[in-house]
Amino acid sequence: MSAAGEVLEFGAGVPLSEQGPAPTRVVAGFGFWLFLLSDIILFSALFAAYAVLSGASADGPTAAELFDKKHVFLETLCLLASSVTCGFGALAVVRSDSRALYLWMIATLVLGAAFLRLEASEFARMVAAGAGPSHSAFLSAFFALVGTHGLHVTLGLAWLVIMLLQAATLGFQPMVARRFFCFALFWHALDIVWIGVFTIVYLGAH
Protein backbone atom coordinates (compact mmCIF):
# COMPACT_ATOMS: atom_id res chain seq x y z
CA MET A 1 0.00 0.00 0.00
CA SER A 2 2.75 2.42 0.93
CA ALA A 3 4.52 1.75 -2.36
CA ALA A 4 1.37 2.65 -4.31
CA GLY A 5 0.99 5.80 -2.22
CA GLU A 6 4.54 6.86 -3.06
CA VAL A 7 3.94 6.40 -6.76
CA LEU A 8 0.86 8.63 -6.58
CA GLU A 9 2.86 11.36 -4.87
CA PHE A 10 5.20 11.98 -7.82
CA GLY A 11 4.43 15.17 -9.69
CA ALA A 12 3.09 16.94 -6.58
CA GLY A 13 -0.06 14.93 -5.96
CA VAL A 14 -1.10 14.40 -9.57
CA PRO A 15 -2.07 10.73 -10.03
CA LEU A 16 0.25 8.74 -12.27
CA SER A 17 -2.52 8.19 -14.82
CA GLU A 18 -3.03 11.94 -15.25
CA GLN A 19 0.60 13.03 -15.63
CA GLY A 20 0.76 12.57 -19.39
CA PRO A 21 3.51 10.78 -21.28
CA ALA A 22 6.83 10.12 -19.51
CA PRO A 23 9.76 12.39 -20.45
CA THR A 24 11.81 11.27 -23.47
CA ARG A 25 14.81 10.66 -21.20
CA VAL A 26 12.89 8.03 -19.22
CA VAL A 27 11.36 6.42 -22.33
CA ALA A 28 14.71 6.32 -24.19
CA GLY A 29 16.48 4.94 -21.11
CA PHE A 30 13.86 2.23 -20.65
CA GLY A 31 13.94 1.27 -24.33
CA PHE A 32 17.71 1.03 -24.29
CA TRP A 33 17.57 -1.02 -21.08
CA LEU A 34 15.27 -3.51 -22.87
CA PHE A 35 17.81 -3.73 -25.72
CA LEU A 36 20.60 -4.37 -23.21
CA LEU A 37 18.61 -7.16 -21.59
CA SER A 38 18.03 -8.76 -25.00
CA ASP A 39 21.77 -8.48 -25.64
CA ILE A 40 22.43 -10.22 -22.33
CA ILE A 41 20.07 -13.02 -23.42
CA LEU A 42 22.19 -13.36 -26.59
CA PHE A 43 25.26 -13.70 -24.40
CA SER A 44 23.50 -16.24 -22.18
CA ALA A 45 23.04 -18.46 -25.25
CA LEU A 46 26.79 -18.18 -25.99
CA PHE A 47 27.55 -18.92 -22.31
CA ALA A 48 25.33 -22.01 -22.48
CA ALA A 49 27.14 -23.18 -25.64
CA TYR A 50 30.51 -22.64 -23.96
CA ALA A 51 29.44 -24.45 -20.77
CA VAL A 52 28.25 -27.46 -22.82
CA LEU A 53 31.31 -27.60 -25.09
CA SER A 54 34.09 -26.51 -22.71
CA GLY A 55 35.27 -30.10 -22.23
CA ALA A 56 35.17 -31.03 -25.93
CA SER A 57 38.77 -30.17 -26.72
CA ALA A 58 39.22 -32.96 -29.31
CA ASP A 59 42.58 -34.03 -27.77
CA GLY A 60 43.86 -30.49 -28.42
CA PRO A 61 44.80 -27.86 -25.82
CA THR A 62 42.37 -27.62 -22.89
CA ALA A 63 41.16 -24.50 -21.11
CA ALA A 64 43.55 -25.02 -18.19
CA GLU A 65 46.57 -25.18 -20.53
CA LEU A 66 45.69 -22.12 -22.61
CA PHE A 67 44.69 -19.34 -20.24
CA ASP A 68 46.97 -16.98 -18.35
CA LYS A 69 45.24 -15.64 -15.22
CA LYS A 70 47.52 -12.58 -14.86
CA HIS A 71 46.68 -11.50 -18.39
CA VAL A 72 42.95 -11.86 -17.68
CA PHE A 73 43.31 -9.95 -14.41
CA LEU A 74 44.86 -7.01 -16.32
CA GLU A 75 42.02 -7.12 -18.86
CA THR A 76 39.48 -7.14 -16.00
CA LEU A 77 41.12 -4.13 -14.35
CA CYS A 78 41.13 -2.19 -17.64
CA LEU A 79 37.44 -2.83 -18.22
CA LEU A 80 36.44 -2.08 -14.61
CA ALA A 81 38.42 1.19 -14.58
CA SER A 82 36.90 2.20 -17.92
CA SER A 83 33.43 1.51 -16.52
CA VAL A 84 34.10 3.91 -13.62
CA THR A 85 35.61 6.64 -15.83
CA CYS A 86 32.60 6.27 -18.13
CA GLY A 87 30.30 6.83 -15.12
CA PHE A 88 32.18 10.03 -14.23
CA GLY A 89 31.93 11.09 -17.88
CA ALA A 90 28.14 10.58 -17.78
CA LEU A 91 28.01 12.78 -14.67
CA ALA A 92 29.99 15.46 -16.53
CA VAL A 93 27.27 15.39 -19.21
CA VAL A 94 24.64 16.09 -16.52
CA ARG A 95 26.71 19.11 -15.36
CA SER A 96 27.38 20.21 -19.00
CA ASP A 97 31.08 20.27 -18.09
CA SER A 98 32.84 19.70 -21.42
CA ARG A 99 36.40 19.61 -20.01
CA ALA A 100 35.53 16.86 -17.51
CA LEU A 101 33.56 15.04 -20.22
CA TYR A 102 36.54 14.92 -22.62
CA LEU A 103 38.93 13.96 -19.81
CA TRP A 104 36.84 11.05 -18.51
CA MET A 105 35.62 9.82 -21.90
CA ILE A 106 39.12 9.84 -23.39
CA ALA A 107 40.28 7.87 -20.32
CA THR A 108 37.42 5.44 -21.08
CA LEU A 109 38.55 5.24 -24.70
CA VAL A 110 42.17 4.54 -23.75
CA LEU A 111 41.27 1.89 -21.16
CA GLY A 112 38.83 0.23 -23.57
CA ALA A 113 41.49 0.21 -26.30
CA ALA A 114 44.00 -1.27 -23.81
CA PHE A 115 41.50 -4.04 -23.06
CA LEU A 116 41.08 -4.77 -26.77
CA ARG A 117 44.85 -4.74 -27.29
CA LEU A 118 45.30 -7.33 -24.52
CA GLU A 119 42.50 -9.47 -25.90
CA ALA A 120 43.84 -9.27 -29.46
CA SER A 121 47.32 -10.31 -28.30
CA GLU A 122 45.80 -13.28 -26.47
CA PHE A 123 43.84 -14.35 -29.56
CA ALA A 124 46.91 -13.92 -31.77
CA ARG A 125 49.02 -16.00 -29.39
CA MET A 126 46.39 -18.77 -29.33
CA VAL A 127 45.98 -18.85 -33.11
CA ALA A 128 49.76 -18.87 -33.59
CA ALA A 129 50.01 -21.83 -31.20
CA GLY A 130 47.54 -23.78 -33.34
CA ALA A 131 44.61 -23.22 -30.96
CA GLY A 132 42.41 -21.33 -33.41
CA PRO A 133 38.60 -21.47 -33.48
CA SER A 134 38.58 -24.34 -36.00
CA HIS A 135 40.60 -26.69 -33.81
CA SER A 136 37.88 -28.01 -31.46
CA ALA A 137 34.32 -27.40 -30.31
CA PHE A 138 35.71 -25.92 -27.08
CA LEU A 139 37.79 -23.37 -29.00
CA SER A 140 34.90 -22.54 -31.37
CA ALA A 141 32.69 -21.80 -28.38
CA PHE A 142 35.48 -19.81 -26.70
CA PHE A 143 36.13 -17.59 -29.72
CA ALA A 144 32.39 -17.13 -30.30
CA LEU A 145 31.75 -16.01 -26.71
CA VAL A 146 34.86 -13.91 -26.01
CA GLY A 147 34.95 -12.66 -29.61
CA THR A 148 31.34 -11.44 -29.43
CA HIS A 149 32.17 -9.57 -26.24
CA GLY A 150 35.25 -8.07 -27.89
CA LEU A 151 33.16 -7.07 -30.91
CA HIS A 152 30.73 -5.31 -28.57
CA VAL A 153 33.63 -3.44 -26.94
CA THR A 154 34.94 -2.46 -30.40
CA LEU A 155 31.53 -1.17 -31.47
CA GLY A 156 31.22 0.64 -28.12
CA LEU A 157 34.53 2.43 -28.71
CA ALA A 158 33.40 3.46 -32.23
CA TRP A 159 30.16 4.75 -30.71
CA LEU A 160 32.14 6.68 -28.09
CA VAL A 161 34.27 8.37 -30.78
CA ILE A 162 31.09 9.37 -32.64
CA MET A 163 29.60 10.70 -29.39
CA LEU A 164 32.72 12.79 -28.66
CA LEU A 165 32.45 14.27 -32.17
CA GLN A 166 28.78 15.02 -31.53
CA ALA A 167 29.60 16.69 -28.22
CA ALA A 168 32.21 18.81 -30.02
CA THR A 169 29.89 19.84 -32.86
CA LEU A 170 26.38 19.81 -31.38
CA GLY A 171 27.19 20.65 -27.75
CA PHE A 172 25.14 19.46 -24.77
CA GLN A 173 21.75 19.20 -26.44
CA PRO A 174 19.20 16.93 -24.70
CA MET A 175 19.52 14.52 -27.63
CA VAL A 176 23.30 14.27 -27.22
CA ALA A 177 22.96 13.91 -23.44
CA ARG A 178 20.50 11.01 -23.91
CA ARG A 179 22.88 9.26 -26.28
CA PHE A 180 25.80 9.62 -23.87
CA PHE A 181 23.59 8.27 -21.20
CA CYS A 182 22.64 5.20 -23.30
CA PHE A 183 26.33 4.71 -24.12
CA ALA A 184 27.14 4.65 -20.38
CA LEU A 185 24.45 1.98 -19.87
CA PHE A 186 25.91 -0.05 -22.75
CA TRP A 187 29.44 0.19 -21.36
CA HIS A 188 28.39 -0.85 -17.83
CA ALA A 189 26.39 -3.78 -19.27
CA LEU A 190 29.49 -4.98 -21.18
CA ASP A 191 31.40 -4.96 -17.91
CA ILE A 192 28.69 -7.13 -16.33
CA VAL A 193 29.01 -9.62 -19.22
CA TRP A 194 32.80 -9.63 -18.69
CA ILE A 195 32.29 -10.74 -15.06
CA GLY A 196 30.56 -13.83 -16.44
CA VAL A 197 33.34 -14.35 -19.01
CA PHE A 198 36.26 -14.18 -16.60
CA THR A 199 34.48 -16.31 -13.99
CA ILE A 200 33.19 -19.07 -16.27
CA VAL A 201 35.81 -19.13 -19.04
CA TYR A 202 39.06 -18.16 -17.34
CA LEU A 203 38.67 -18.92 -13.63
CA GLY A 204 36.40 -21.91 -14.18
CA ALA A 205 39.12 -23.60 -16.25
CA HIS A 206 40.75 -26.49 -14.42
Binding site: W33, I41, L80, T199
Partner: protein, 124 residues
Protein backbone atom coordinates in the same frame (compact mmCIF):
# COMPACT_ATOMS: atom_id res chain seq x y z
CA UNK B 1 14.45 13.00 -3.76
CA UNK B 2 12.88 15.95 -5.56
CA UNK B 3 9.31 15.12 -6.54
CA UNK B 4 9.26 17.34 -9.64
CA UNK B 5 12.43 15.91 -11.13
CA UNK B 6 11.01 12.38 -11.31
CA UNK B 7 7.45 12.80 -12.57
CA UNK B 8 7.15 9.32 -14.01
CA UNK B 9 9.71 6.89 -12.81
CA UNK B 10 13.40 7.03 -13.51
CA UNK B 11 15.42 5.89 -16.48
CA UNK B 12 17.96 3.18 -15.67
CA UNK B 13 21.32 4.72 -14.79
CA UNK B 14 19.97 7.95 -13.31
CA UNK B 15 21.36 8.50 -9.84
CA UNK B 16 19.01 9.74 -7.14
CA UNK B 17 21.77 10.86 -4.76
CA UNK B 18 22.30 14.35 -6.09
CA UNK B 19 24.46 15.55 -3.16
CA UNK B 20 27.48 13.37 -4.04
CA UNK B 21 26.80 12.12 -7.55
CA UNK B 22 30.20 10.48 -8.01
CA UNK B 23 30.12 8.59 -4.75
CA UNK B 24 28.19 5.56 -5.98
CA UNK B 25 30.87 4.92 -8.64
CA UNK B 26 33.65 5.00 -6.05
CA UNK B 27 31.74 2.70 -3.68
CA UNK B 28 30.98 0.42 -6.63
CA UNK B 29 34.65 0.43 -7.69
CA UNK B 30 35.79 -0.52 -4.17
CA UNK B 31 33.31 -3.42 -3.96
CA UNK B 32 34.03 -4.58 -7.52
CA UNK B 33 37.80 -4.58 -6.89
CA UNK B 34 37.35 -6.50 -3.66
CA UNK B 35 35.12 -9.11 -5.31
CA UNK B 36 37.40 -9.42 -8.38
CA UNK B 37 40.45 -9.96 -6.17
CA UNK B 38 38.49 -12.51 -4.13
CA UNK B 39 37.50 -14.35 -7.33
CA UNK B 40 41.08 -14.57 -8.63
CA UNK B 41 42.29 -15.58 -5.17
CA UNK B 42 39.62 -18.30 -4.88
CA UNK B 43 40.56 -19.71 -8.30
CA UNK B 44 44.27 -20.07 -7.47
CA UNK B 45 44.32 -20.89 -3.76
CA UNK B 46 44.52 -24.31 -2.18
CA UNK B 47 43.10 -23.21 1.17
CA UNK B 48 39.51 -23.62 -0.04
CA UNK B 49 38.01 -27.10 -0.25
CA UNK B 50 38.46 -27.78 -3.97
CA UNK B 51 34.92 -29.00 -4.88
CA UNK B 52 33.52 -25.82 -3.27
CA UNK B 53 35.57 -23.45 -5.46
CA UNK B 54 33.07 -23.31 -8.40
CA UNK B 55 30.26 -22.48 -5.97
CA UNK B 56 32.37 -19.77 -4.34
CA UNK B 57 33.25 -18.33 -7.77
CA UNK B 58 29.57 -18.31 -8.75
CA UNK B 59 28.60 -16.52 -5.54
CA UNK B 60 31.36 -13.91 -6.00
CA UNK B 61 30.40 -13.34 -9.67
CA UNK B 62 26.70 -12.92 -8.87
CA UNK B 63 27.58 -10.54 -6.02
CA UNK B 64 29.77 -8.48 -8.35
CA UNK B 65 27.03 -8.36 -11.01
CA UNK B 66 24.69 -7.08 -8.29
CA UNK B 67 27.25 -4.43 -7.30
CA UNK B 68 27.53 -3.27 -10.92
CA UNK B 69 23.74 -3.15 -11.33
CA UNK B 70 23.24 -1.17 -8.11
CA UNK B 71 26.19 1.23 -8.15
CA UNK B 72 26.95 1.67 -11.89
CA UNK B 73 23.58 1.15 -13.60
CA UNK B 74 21.62 2.42 -10.56
CA UNK B 75 18.94 -0.23 -10.89
CA UNK B 76 16.96 -0.76 -7.69
CA UNK B 77 13.60 -2.13 -6.60
CA UNK B 78 12.35 1.37 -5.66
CA UNK B 79 8.73 2.08 -6.72
CA UNK B 80 9.82 4.57 -9.41
CA UNK B 81 12.00 1.84 -10.96
CA UNK B 82 9.26 -0.81 -11.20
CA UNK B 83 9.48 -1.04 -15.02
CA UNK B 84 13.27 -1.36 -15.06
CA UNK B 85 13.27 -3.92 -12.28
CA UNK B 86 10.53 -6.06 -13.83
CA UNK B 87 12.36 -6.00 -17.18
CA UNK B 88 15.55 -7.07 -15.39
CA UNK B 89 13.76 -9.95 -13.65
CA UNK B 90 12.27 -11.10 -16.96
CA UNK B 91 15.70 -10.92 -18.63
CA UNK B 92 17.23 -12.97 -15.82
CA UNK B 93 14.39 -15.50 -16.08
CA UNK B 94 14.97 -16.01 -19.82
CA UNK B 95 18.77 -16.14 -19.39
CA UNK B 96 18.35 -18.72 -16.63
CA UNK B 97 16.07 -20.84 -18.81
CA UNK B 98 18.53 -20.70 -21.71
CA UNK B 99 21.62 -21.55 -19.65
CA UNK B 100 20.23 -24.14 -17.24
CA UNK B 101 17.84 -25.61 -19.81
CA UNK B 102 20.72 -26.13 -22.26
CA UNK B 103 22.92 -27.65 -19.57
CA UNK B 104 20.23 -30.06 -18.34
CA UNK B 105 19.24 -31.18 -21.84
CA UNK B 106 22.80 -31.59 -23.09
CA UNK B 107 23.93 -33.46 -19.97
CA UNK B 108 20.94 -35.74 -20.31
CA UNK B 109 21.61 -36.41 -24.00
CA UNK B 110 25.26 -37.05 -23.23
CA UNK B 111 24.25 -39.52 -20.54
CA UNK B 112 21.78 -41.32 -22.81
CA UNK B 113 24.11 -41.53 -25.78
CA UNK B 114 25.57 -44.90 -26.62
CA UNK B 115 29.36 -45.11 -26.19
CA UNK B 116 31.07 -44.16 -29.42
CA UNK B 117 32.68 -47.57 -30.14
CA UNK B 118 29.32 -49.36 -29.88
CA UNK B 119 27.73 -46.73 -32.11
CA UNK B 120 30.43 -47.30 -34.73
CA UNK B 121 29.81 -51.07 -34.65
CA UNK B 122 26.08 -50.55 -35.21
CA UNK B 123 26.77 -48.48 -38.30
CA UNK B 124 28.75 -51.22 -39.96
Amino acid sequence: MHPQSVPQGRAPGVDSHEAHPGRSYLIGLAWALLLTLASFWAASTHSVYAPAVPVLLAVLAIAQMGVHLAFFLHISSAPDQANNFLALLFGLFISGLVVFGSLVIMTNLNHMMMPMDQLMQMQR
